[in-house]
């Protein structure tokens, strides 16, 4: 162990602000990127499903119109 106490660990020999700022920034950016990447395929599947539903509706309307014409 390189530190004797927790407060010494936080202090980082006087460089605490810079060290924890960097670790914080890194964690923040990577968490945001992970959340964005993880949800990306679900968002696209949602879009595809929306489009499929719309196409299905259009098909039914077309079918109904065709029936009325005959």
């Amino acid at each position: 162990m390189a530190f004797d106490s927790f407060s010494e660990f936080l202090n980082m020999g006087g460089y605490g602000f810079y060290v924890w700022l960097s670790y914080g920034f890194t964690a923040l950016l990577l968490v945001l990127l992970t959340l964005n990447s993880k949800g990306k395929d679900k968002r696209i599947f949602k879009q595809i499903n929306k489009r499929l539903k719309r196409e299905e509706k259009l098909k039914q309307v077309a079918k109904r119109n065709a029936k009325q014409d005959t």
């Binding site: 460089y15 950016l29 395929d41």
Partner: protein
């Protein structure tokens, strides 16, 4: 080798293959990052000149190495997309660019937070810092080009060309500390001689490096899969998958 590679040119096969990789990569990355950064923060010795601030090394250097490594991967994908007209290579570029840009941003931010106490300035227009900033803009350029065209094929081609041309920046970044008089120090690890650091620092560094690399792999696979289904959204196999997600 071509016979072995050929099935992976099929988007559906690649989609399922990368899906199997993700949980493994994620777990390996979590273990390596916990061990590597834990060792780096708690057990590695302080530097005789830089004191405890040397613990930034375990973030800054892996991020900087990955920012360049991911760019190289993206440039190779660009070449593949242009020469062999492979759509999956364009998906790789789309997946690699945001991840590479994030690691570049981390390298720049942690570098600034390290520069302030060591050099007395958050930022200097030194060759290493400037060329790394250009790398960030190259990533942004590739991402912007990909979204700038309605036509996906044209967008992929434009992004591939920029990714490929930008590769000239990589040797400039690497050798910037030798070619110019920089405030940034020279290479510690990535050189042909023995790394000039103690094994007690090298060990946590290497573990963190692989941890970050596996994290990058996880994220790239996730984005690669999303890009595949977006490009193939008219295919029956994607429609079937979409119904499962309803």
């Amino acid at each position: 080798m071509w016979k072995w590679l050929h099935p992976y040119a099929n988007p559906e096969v690649s989609y399922h293959f990368t899906g199997k990789l993700i949980p493994w990569f994620a777990v390996i990355s979590a273990i390596l990052l916990t061990v590597g950064l834990g060792m780096g923060l708690l057990f590695s010795p302080a530097d005789y000149q830089q004191g405890e601030s040397v613990r930034l090394f375990y973030l800054h250097v892996p991020a900087a190495m990955l920012s360049m490594g991911l760019y190289l991967g993206m440039a190779i994908a660009g070449l593949t997309a242009l020469v062999w007209q492979m759509k999956l290579a364009e998906s790789s570029i789309a997946a690699l660019a945001p991840v590479g840009a994030t690691f570049t941003a981390i390298a720049l931010l942690t570098g600034a937070a390290w520069g302030k106490p060591m050099w007395g300035a958050w930022w200097v227009w030194d060759a290493r810092l400037t060329s790394e900033l250009i790398l960030l803009f190259l990533y942004f350029g590739v991402m912007a080009l990909q979204n700038a065209f309605e036509d996906k094929a044209l967008a992929g081609k434009a992004a591939s060309i920029l990714a490929l041309v930008g590769v000239i920046n990589l040797p400039i970044i690497h050798y910037s500390v030798e070619w110019w008089n920089t405030l940034h120090q020279g290479a510690t690890v990535s050189k042909f001689e023995k790394p000039s650091m103690s094994i007690d620092m090298l060990r946590p560094f290497l573990i963190s490096l692989f941890g970050f690399a596996f994290l990058a792999g996880t994220l790239v696979c996730m984005r690669f899969r999303a890009d595949i289904i977006e490009r193939n959204s008219m295919r029956p196999w994607v429609k079937a998958l979409a119904k499962e997600h309803n």
